[in-house]
């Protein structure tokens, strides 16, 4: 088995908001830094974020401060957040947004020339910094510019498949070069995981292609602890058609501006669920109402409900929902005249790799930041807190990894482990009989969408767990790539991702089964009223190779749950 080994001090896996920020920070310590990503530099999922970045600068509402930001975050997170981590988030958000400006970011301004801030859901003040409705893109573009200034070595279109652990600490990763199919080993003194979320384990998602949960799967296999994996945010309004646009976000502003939701009978059904607030009920509440309509047969032809703003004056729609007009124009729908079809879409993973106040995991030398981590957002994430998270924890993880690298040398390597990993990948190509990744993926994403979804119930989730264990045992080892070519072969890439998707899905399902009550984004139709849910679920791979789940006490510093 041929492979090439590439050495560095700090390895960052992921080049989204968190990964880029970590790499920049680590490189500033005069270390040799490598950053890996599955897509070309600058194309990461972070570029898709629209709304903004939460930071209590008080530029618009002077009474805002980190304390209030903290409180909103904890209340929004249903008190499940690790409060130590949330404190860091609100403390550092402002310095990190200034860093972005120093790198060249162009945020929208107040009349005094300071960063402008807009209101966002469930927050006490206007706190969200923005650049029009393309804030994520602005941040991604800025970080890309900044990376091009540093000495960071960018290995884009390189797929990490496994975290290597030797001598009780991290040793690097195995990877494949997606362009040419070469096997690579990256050896580093410390590693930062910044691999983003896993919306793509669901059939319908607002996430980019890359968000399949590689980071969760790899971290689990390496022995990391993961937390809150059952907490998944579904956004109520995702686009229904055409196929490639399915799940694309339809911004909350549509309802904010007066959009109404209708079922296939033309009935404004929200009156049956939340008559006082109607369409402006909470994200999870609206999502559940829509799903009830669909499940009970009152849905639209493409499997959603209708969201209409056709009753509003055209001028208002054109002025305030410009990008939505564009998005639906592409789908052949003129939203000024016709209703959109929308249905909930898998949006954000609150849970993930468990980190401490240094952004460290339970494996020495291994750090993590961004959406692949858990704990910061608890049971639900406030809009705008994820971008802040990528910068605050991105920088922190980069710094911690740099410090670790300065104090440690490279570990040794175990060639057997490496060769075994590459043989596994090679076997996917060699196999004559087996299951195609596309079919396997369809089965998995459907299963998750139907059984571990917005409404959860014991038997569904038990079924999902059983199925996922079966898939892990029977399907994963039998994945077969149709065309035996290593050079840029998407079929092979999907095959490699599949194992990580299954691991991630299993963690979500197994944790969801254990949580018997409803809390945060986890909503059970058969909720046990005695389970108030004030605990976190922590997952790790046990000595025997079996998945271990345990409940842990909340980390509380200031706010006691009611």
């Amino acid at each position: 088995m041929n492979y090439k080994t590439i050495m560095c001090d700090v390895l960052v896996v992921g080049a989204g908001g968190a990964g880029c920020r970590a790499a920049i920070e680590a490189a500033s310590h005069n270390l040799d830094v490598i950053m890996l990503s599955k897509e070309l530099l600058g194309k990461a999922h972070t570029a898709m974020a629209e709304g903004g970045y939460n930071v209590s600068l008080g530029n618009v509402d002077p009474d805002d401060n980190p304390e209030t930001h903290f409180k909103d975050t904890i209340v929004g997170g249903n008190y499940l957040n690790n409060q130590k981590l949330a404190e860091i988030l609100v403390r550092d958000a402002s310095e990190r947004v200034f860093d972005l400006e120093e790198y060249g970011a162009v945020f929208d301004r107040t009349p005094e020339g300071k960063i402008a801030q807009r209101p966002f859901g469930k927050q006490s003040w206007r706190r969200t910094a923005y650049a029009s409705d393309r804030t994520g893109s602005e941040i991604m573009v800025t970080l890309t510019e900044a990376i091009r200034k540093t000495s960071v070595r960018v290995f884009d279109e390189v797929f990490a498949t496994k975290i290597l652990v030797e001598e009780g600490r991290v040793a690097g990763v195995t990877a494949i070069d997606l362009k040419y199919g070469d096997y690579l080993v990256f050896r580093a003194k410390s590693v930062v995981m910044a691999t983003g979320g896993a919306g793509r384990i669901y059939e319908v998602t607002s996430n980019a292609q890359l968000d399949v949960g590689d980071g969760y799967g790899m971290a689990y296999e390496a022995g990391c602890e993961l937390i809150d994996m059952e907490m998944i945010q579904f956004h109520p309004t995702g686009q229904c058609a055409p196929p490639s646009a399915k799940g694309r976000l339809v911004t909350e502003a549509v309802r904010g501006e007066g959009g109404i939701l209708l079922n296939n009978k033309g009935e404004r059904f929200m009156k049956n669920y939340y008559p006082e607030v109607m369409e402006l009920a909470g994200r999870d509440q609206v999502a559940r109402s829509i799903m009830t309509e669909v499940v009970e047969g009152r849905g639209s032809p493409d499997g959603g409900v209708y969201l209409s703003i056709a009753h509003l004056p055209k001028s208002i729609v054109e002025f305030r929902l410009e990008s939505m007009i564009e998005q639906f124009e592409d789908a052949g729908v003129d939203i000024r005249e016709e209703p959109m079809q929308v249905s909930p879409t898998c949006h954000h993973f609150m849970g993930g790799i468990k980190i401490d106040e240094e952004s460290g995991t339970n494996i020495p030398g291994l750090y993590a930041s961004g959406e692949c981590t858990g704990g910061v957002h608890g049971g639900n994430r406030l809009g705008g807190n994820a971008l802040a998270d990528t910068q605050v924890y991105g920088a922190l993880s980069g710094e911690s990894a740099a410090n670790f690298a300065k104090e440690n040398t490279h570990t040794g390597i175990n060639q057997d482990v490496i060769v075994k990993e590459f043989e596994k990948l090679e076997a996917m190509l060699e196999r004559k009989e087996g299951i195609s990744p596309a079919d396997a993926r369809d089965e998995l994403t459907k299963l998750m969408w139907e059984k571990v979804q917005i409404f959860r119930k014991e038997e569904d989730m038990q079924y999902a767990v059983k199925e996922l264990r079966r898939i892990e045992k029977d399907v994963v080892p039998n994945i077969k790539v149709d065309v035996r070519v290593k050079r840029f072969n998407p079929g092979w890439h999907q095959a490699m991702e599949f194992e990580h998707m299954v691991m991630t899905a299993r963690m979500v399902a197994e944790a969801a089964v254990i949580r018997k009550g409803s809390r945060g984004a986890h909503y059970r139709v058969d909720a046990d009223p005695n389970d108030k849910g004030y605990y976190n679920i922590v997952i790790r791979k046990g000595e025997d190779g079996k998945m271990e789940l345990r409940k842990e006490d909340l980390v509380i510093t200031k706010i006691i749950p009611p």
Binding site: L41, A131, A245, P490
Partner: protein, 521 residues
């Protein structure tokens, strides 16, 4: 029955294939389908190894640009036409890794070379005060998602990597416009061949973010270069000096049209309309017959034509090359002349038969005058074909009767199509002529290399672009190529002189007038 779209995809695996080849797939059509949908369909149903890039599927990441029926666009926001064949190829100028995935190394290298980040000489204050006005323009130009589609379509990059292409020139302008950046971006732009762009607007046209690169980046940097004292190329300076001296960009040779005509008034008995004719330099000084043909054609269609005897250059060469003093003076003067003429003769319409002048009057004079005095010029500007089809009305045009039996193709001037959004009108006019068999050129809107001061400043490059264009025109098999711009006509004529096909180059008004005259006999 589901409709299927025939989709040809250029496949290539350099490890095993001698050369790229097309593979056909039948893709099931769905309303609203994008090119990305079609590619995903093929990947899912027929071949999971088909290589292409994508991430966000919503025009936010810039991963998915491919050539769609000859023009590079982002796949996720390009619709599939239900009744057309779909031909998908990788971007140009970048080596293929596999199928539609290309190696971006050159682009990355070129980007890095310009130090593509805000360079600072000291740490900023926190918070840093920046006013909205200071970043207004930066915001526009910053929407770029680095999809590289514009690079693939740029006729200059097609000929030479000496020019880094629109995306990168845009990044230079973004930094030049940023008040925080301390580097000399103008010097850098000069070093990156900023004067190679023909301002053909192809980049702007296909940009998913509709960034006006020619105006906001190229012309802006050129204007800054002129301001900083960089000299124009000799040929370009010649034009500008001539304009300042005489109001014409070229020296007089044969008696100019405006001197030869005896009157300003070409009136008909029962007019259906009245227009003022802006001749532009080349029709006045070099193509007098075309000018007369235009008057004749309009008169035959019962339109009064006013030809002010004192006219001035629109100063397109100055606008394009960055000499804004000359440009603005000319804009004021032209506006004054035509407002006066319109007032005197009680009309509100100016007709132009030169693509470059029309674009300049509409896209450059208009906003400048409006900004300067709070009110745009008081007249409307029409291209001649546009005027005929839309104002006279296609059904009212007096049909030309003289037969011209020829296979005729059309070269769309950049500044007519993308510059003035006049796309089909000239072709409709052509088709009115009996005997003309119109042949569509799939590359009809490709730049001929004459514009933007490139013919004047960089003859060799200009000829290379023209040669590429010539080959496409010849491939149509037509006997004649027609167009509606004097610069394109001169450029194409130069090229066709060396062509073995003996292809003729004609100005549309000339051809039309010829048919009318033949019909009289």
């Amino acid at each position: 029955m589901t409709k299927t779209i025939k989709t040809k995809v250029l496949r290539y695996n350099p490890d095993s294939d001698n050369e790229p080849y097309f593979q056909d797939f039948d893709v099931e059509y769905e309303p609203g389908m994008t090119v990305l949908d079609a590619l995903l369909f093929i990947q899912d149903k027929f071949d999971s190894s088909l290589a292409f890039r994508w991430e966000c599927r919503g025009g936010q990441c810039g991963s998915c640009a491919v050539k769609v029926n000859t023009i590079a666009r982002i796949a996720c926001r390009t619709k599939v036409e239900p009744d057309e064949e779909l031909v998908l190829e990788p971007l140009e100028k970048m080596p293929v890794i596999k199928d539609l995935v290309v190696d971006m190394a050159q682009t990355t290298f070129r980007l890095r070379r310009i130090r593509p980040y805000v360079a600072r000489d000291k740490k900023p204050e926190r918070p840093e005060i920046i006013h909205a006005e200071e970043i207004e323009k930066v915001r526009e130009i910053r929407k770029c998602i680095e999809c590289s589609a514009c690079l693939s379509n740029c006729p200059i990059v097609h000929e030479t990597w000496d020019y880094p292409g629109p995306m990168i020139i845009r990044q230079l302008a973004r930094l030049e416009l940023d008040p925080r950046d301390v580097e000399d971006r103008v010097a850098m732009a000069m070093n990156e061949s900023i004067y190679s762009c023909t301002t053909c607007k192809m980049c702007e046209d296909i940009c998913p973010k509709k960034i006006k690169i020619p105006a906001l980046a190229v012309e802006l940097l050129r204007a800054k270069a002129v301001e900083a004292g960089y000299p124009l190329a000799e040929g370009q300076q010649g034009f500008v000096d001539q304009i300042n001296k005489t109001g014409r960009a070229v020296p007089e040779k044969n008696p100019p049209l405006l001197k030869a005509i005896e009157t300003e008034e070409f009136f008909v008995d029962n007019p259906n309309g009245r227009v003022a004719f802006f001749t532009g330099c080349l029709i006045d000084y070099r193509m007098q017959n075309t000018g007369k043909a235009l008057i004749d054609v309009l008169n035959r269609n019962n339109i009064d034509v006013v030809v002010p005897k004192e006219q001035w250059c629109c100063a397109s060469p100055a606008f394009r090359t960055g000499d804004l003093n000359t440009a603005h003076a000319a804009a004021r003067r032209v506006t004054e002349i035509f407002e006066e003429a319109c007032k005197k003769y009680d009309c509100d319409t100016v007709v132009v038969a030169c693509a470059g002048c029309g674009k300049t009057l509409r896209e450059d004079h208009r906003p400048f005058i409006e900004e300067e005095r709070g009110e745009p010029p008081l007249y409307k500007v029409y291209d001649m074909a546009e005027y005929m089809i839309h104002v006279i009305g296609k059904e009212n045009i007096v049909p030309p009767k003289g037969e011209i039996k020829m296979k005729v193709t059309y070269h769309e001037p950049c500044h007519l199509g993308r510059g003035q959004h006049v796309f089909d009108e000239p072709i409709e006019v052509l088709k009115l002529i009996p005997g003309v068999e119109y042949i569509e050129d799939p590359y009809k809107n490709r730049c001929c290399g004459a514009g933007g001061g490139v013919r004047a400043g960089q003859r060799e490059l200009s000829q290379k672009i023209a040669t590429t264009r010539k080959e496409y025109i010849e491939a149509t098999g037509a006997d004649m190529v027609t167009t509606e711009c004097p610069f394109c006509t001169i450029q194409l004529n130069d090229m066709m002189k060396e062509s073995s096909t003996g292809m003729k180059v004609r100005y549309i008004p000339d051809l039309l007038a010829e048919s009318y005259r033949k019909g009289d006999a």
